[in-house]
């Protein structure tokens, strides 16, 4: 982590101050904590804060970076750190995912400790992937894309580090808390109240940094990718705050209770839950797609007008559709109808994005054939189209009566997260990492090819197994015999899952293997860095003269 290199002496001093404040906060939490979860989290903050104090203090009076160079270059240190964290969390989240998938097939293999029970490991998987892997990739690439499409350096050198380190502390707090049994019991928002508050502070800083940098842009217009990244930052802040309003039992304890109750709680939870999919796992990654795909293909975006339609369509329609998670529940029918109809209207803007991406490859199909990196992004666009169609389809109420509560939902989510989100992340990483290393290619170009096929095969095995599993479950659960009795017991539907659960674990293991190869490849590439050619990588010189 090359944190201090780009910081001036005064920025290092501020950094030490912030780190010391973090250490003090951690000390206070650890000292006052009434439960072991908060005590551990306080200790983590204390250790991190002290570590940063020493890291910065050790180089406090080293020569600061030469001034013209500092301002004329893009600030990619935070992106590099963010990519490392992306890969680290990929390992954590995917290992946990394969582990819990295996537990579903071999439930007897559950180790005897509470921390390794399915219920605690499952949120480690979801948080590790969505927030750890996805979130770090979004933040890291957003800094990279923002600077290049604005032709401006990040507005200051310290805040990107605070954002990334703070964000990863949130992820680590969340995941360690789950292992100890601390949870708000809200899906994808399990982290407890002080972690949520901490994330709000980090997120506001992230938003401020983004806006300040955009304000410095040398381009007259704001590129599409930045619209999406901004929508991601803004809406996630709104969702996170509203869904996580809670009252702690004690200021010195980790347990809290949400202020929402009953069906309102369910509606707010799924308004959050679905828009976490929409604005975390879709809007942000569309920003990634809109930058890395044309850059890698060397082609202009196919249609600016289609970009506009899909952006505003997605942003407007998505916010309404959360209620399709609550079909046939205590939620009033009219709310369900609105969720269903807006889900269907969402399809065309979603497909417009996927179509725009694929049409952008016109004239570059030879590259798609030869370049596994571009193929990652092509497959991502295809899976984005597939899973958004599936999403609109599953949101139709009668279809949902078959699919709801089955593994079809799990399959749908994974066709989005494996096929779309992870593929576009890997495409972005394979574009970014060689550039950061000042190289033409990754250190092991062949390994990218292996990773691609492992990822595609793993995704297909996973998704097809879950489609079969879900439809089988749905049909078994609703079948009555001629005498008005259920045709199958629930137990039989569980037993019928065995082959699919085994296949799912195998598909996940393939995907994990590919990600391990990617991590090793990135490590080898960054270790073999050459000095970077800065000719094409320079913010406007006019910017420096300000």
């Amino acid at each position: 982590m090359n944190l201090p290199a780009s910081l001036t002496t005064s920025e290092r001093q501020i950094g030490i101050g912030l780190s010391a404040a973090l250490a003090l906060m951690g000390l206070a939490m650890a000292a006052l904590a009434r439960d072991s979860v908060m005590a551990l989290h306080g200790t983590m903050a204390l250790v991190l804060g002290l570590g940063l104090v020493f890291r910065l203090g050790g180089v406090l009076y080293d020569a600061p970076p030469a001034d013209p160079d500092r301002v004329l270059r893009y600030d990619d240190g935070p992106t590099r750190f963010g990519i490392w964290m992306t890969l680290a969390w990929a390992m954590v989240g995917m290992v946990a995912g394969v582990w819990v998938a295996a537990l579903l097939y071999w439930p007897e293999a559950t180790p005897p400790w509470p921390a390794t029970s399915f219920g605690r490991l499952r949120p480690v998987h979801t948080t590790g992937i969505i927030f750890g892997f996805g979130g770090n990739a979004l933040i890291a690439t957003s800094f990279w894309v923002l600077q290049r499409t604005s032709r401006a350096r990040l507005a200051d050198a310290l805040s990107p580090w605070v954002v990334l380190i703070g964000y990863n502390l949130f992820c680590a707090w969340a995941v360690t808390g789950y292992l100890m049994g601390a949870t708000q019991s809200k899906e994808y928002a399990e982290a407890e109240w002080y972690a949520d508050l901490w994330l709000v502070a980090v997120w506001v800083l992230y938003f401020t940094l983004y806006m300040r940098t955009l304000a410095r842009r040398a381009e007259p217009h704001i590129y599409v990718a930045n619209w999406y990244y901004l929508a991601f930052i803004l809406v996630v802040a709104m969702l996170h705050i509203v869904n996580n309003i809670a009252l702690p039992v004690s200021w010195a304890g980790s347990k809290s209770y949400t202020v929402w109750a009953g069906v309102q709680d369910a509606m707010i939870q799924w308004w959050y839950g679905h828009n976490a999919v929409a604005f975390f796992l879709t809007a942000g990654f569309l920003g990634m797609l809109y930058y890395f795909l044309p850059v890698r293909a060397g082609r202009p975006i196919w249609s600016y007008r289609l970009s506009i339609l899909s952006f505003w369509g997605i942003v407007f329609f998505y916010i309404w559709v959360g209620s399709h998670h609550l079909h046939y529940t205590a939620l009033p029918y009219w709310v369900q109808t609105l969720g269903m109809t807006f889900s269907v209207m969402l399809l065309v803007p979603s497909w417009a994005s996927a179509g725009n991406a694929i049409a952008t490859l016109n004239g570059a199909w030879g590259k798609v054939r030869d370049d596994a990196t571009l193929r990652f992004m092509f497959v991502a666009a295809v899976f984005y189209g597939l899973s958004t169609f599936e999403g609109s389809f599953l949101a139709i109420r009668p279809v949902n009566s078959l699919s709801h509560y089955t593994d079809w939902t799990v399959g749908h989510v994974h066709s989005g997260t494996l096929g779309w989100v992870a593929m576009i992340i890997f495409g972005a990483i394979y574009t970014l990492v060689p550039q950061m290393a000042g190289r033409e290619t990754m250190a092991w170009p062949k390994a990218v090819e292996w990773h691609f096929w492992l990822a595609v095969l793993g995704t297909l095995v996973y998704v097809i197994a879950m489609w079969n599993a879900g439809i089988t479950q749905g049909l078994m659960w609703r079948a009555y015999d001629a005498n008005g009795a259920l045709s199958y017991s629930f137990l039989e539907s569980v037993q019928a899952m065995a082959p699919y659960y085994l296949l799912r674990a195998m598909g996940g293991a393939m995907f994990l293997t590919g990600a391990v190869i990617c991590t090793l490849n990135c490590r080898a590439t960054l270790r073999a860095s050459r000095s970077r050619d800065l000719q094409n990588d320079r913010p406007l010189v006019a910017q420096a003269a300000e």
Binding site: R148, S303, G484, A485, S489
Partner: protein, 299 residues
């Protein structure tokens, strides 16, 4: 920025011709923007996308007209079909339940001999009973009723409370140690016995099913003194006290010495839920009849 229709003023336009860069692959001009090398084509909005968008809007509007859709303050638009999901769920359930009650009502009166002798009724009822068993009982008693450590087997001739359908129905309905009117079964704690005595007892009890327990050993004396009041002389069981026979090798916790020592030290208090809170009397009787046939059904 002033709006202009003069192509010469468009961003990226050639100042002489007013044309913008034409993409050789698609033949479209660019918008003239450039973001660190990324350009965009000015491709017109595809007609098919507009039509598709319109179709989804039409679908939505039709759905809003037919179904409950928009809030209107304290009320909401009911939709032309006048659907109510609560009523639909009730109607759907009743349609199935009417068919089911056609035969299930016969089970309200627990005349098991008569029920069993009606082959048509049994053909309708037994598959349903099997699913009822799998959904409610199998989690503890096993899918085929084979039991497991702590949970009695239902497919053998050994019963703690009696295997006639009437008795089984009673056990299912009121449970064991579950509610006020449940059957009560409690093996007291014998940790106050000397370890050596507990060991002697355990050796004696472990030998009972094999028929090898000597009648004049210290273990036998201890048994007569402490255990026989519930388990009966010689350990043949005292059904109404819920004390199992110790001679038939069917003790649910196991009858090896180590397990017996644990049982003596900690006591036992088995549990079975009272299903009359969850199942109807007819369903309880149906299950009782099914369970009482499990030993016969065992291959």
């Amino acid at each position: 920025m002033t709006r202009t229709s003069d192509p010469h003023d468009l961003p990226g336009a050639d100042p002489h011709t007013g044309n913008r860069l034409i993409d050789p692959v698609t033949g479209y001009d660019t918008t003239g923007h450039d973001w660190g090398g990324i350009q965009e084509l000015n491709t017109p909005f595809p007609k098919i996308a507009a039509i598709a968008l319109l179709l989804t809007f039409i679908y939505a509007v039709i759905a809003w007209i037919l179904l409950p859709a928009w809030p209107t303050g304290r009320d909401y638009t009911r939709g032309l079909w006048g659907l109510d999901q609560g009523r639909m769920a009730r109607d759907g359930y009743q349609a199935v339940d009417t068919v089911r009650q056609g035969w299930l009502t016969h089970f309200t009166t627990p005349d098991f001999a008569a029920l069993k002798s009606d082959p048509l009724l049994m053909a309708q009822a037994m598959p349903a009973a099997a699913r009822l068993f799998a959904d409610n009982c199998a989690a503890c008693h096993g899918a085929a009723g084979a039991g497991g450590p702590g949970f009695p087997a239902l497919d053998d001739a050994d019963w703690l409370w009696g295997g006639e359908p009437e008795t089984v129905a009673e056990t299912i309905a009121i449970g064991i140690n579950a509610a006020e009117d449940s059957r009560v079964a409690e093996m007291p704690v014998f940790d106050w016995l000397e370890p050596a005595d507990r060991q002697a007892l355990a050796t004696h009890v472990a030998a009972l099913p094999k028929g090898e327990a000597p009648a004049d050993s210290p273990g036998a004396a201890l048994f007569a003194e402490n255990c026989a009041s519930c388990h009966g002389d010689g350990g043949t069981g005292g059904l109404m006290a819920g004390a199992p026979s110790l001679t038939d090798d069917a003790v649910i916790y196991g009858q090896d010495e180590a397990t017996i020592l644990t049982t003596l030290k900690q006591g036992r208090r088995g549990f079975m839920p009272a299903w009359n809170q969850r199942l109807t009397p007819a369903e309880v009787n149906l299950l009782a009849l099914y369970v009482s046939t499990l030993p016969e059904a065992k291959p």
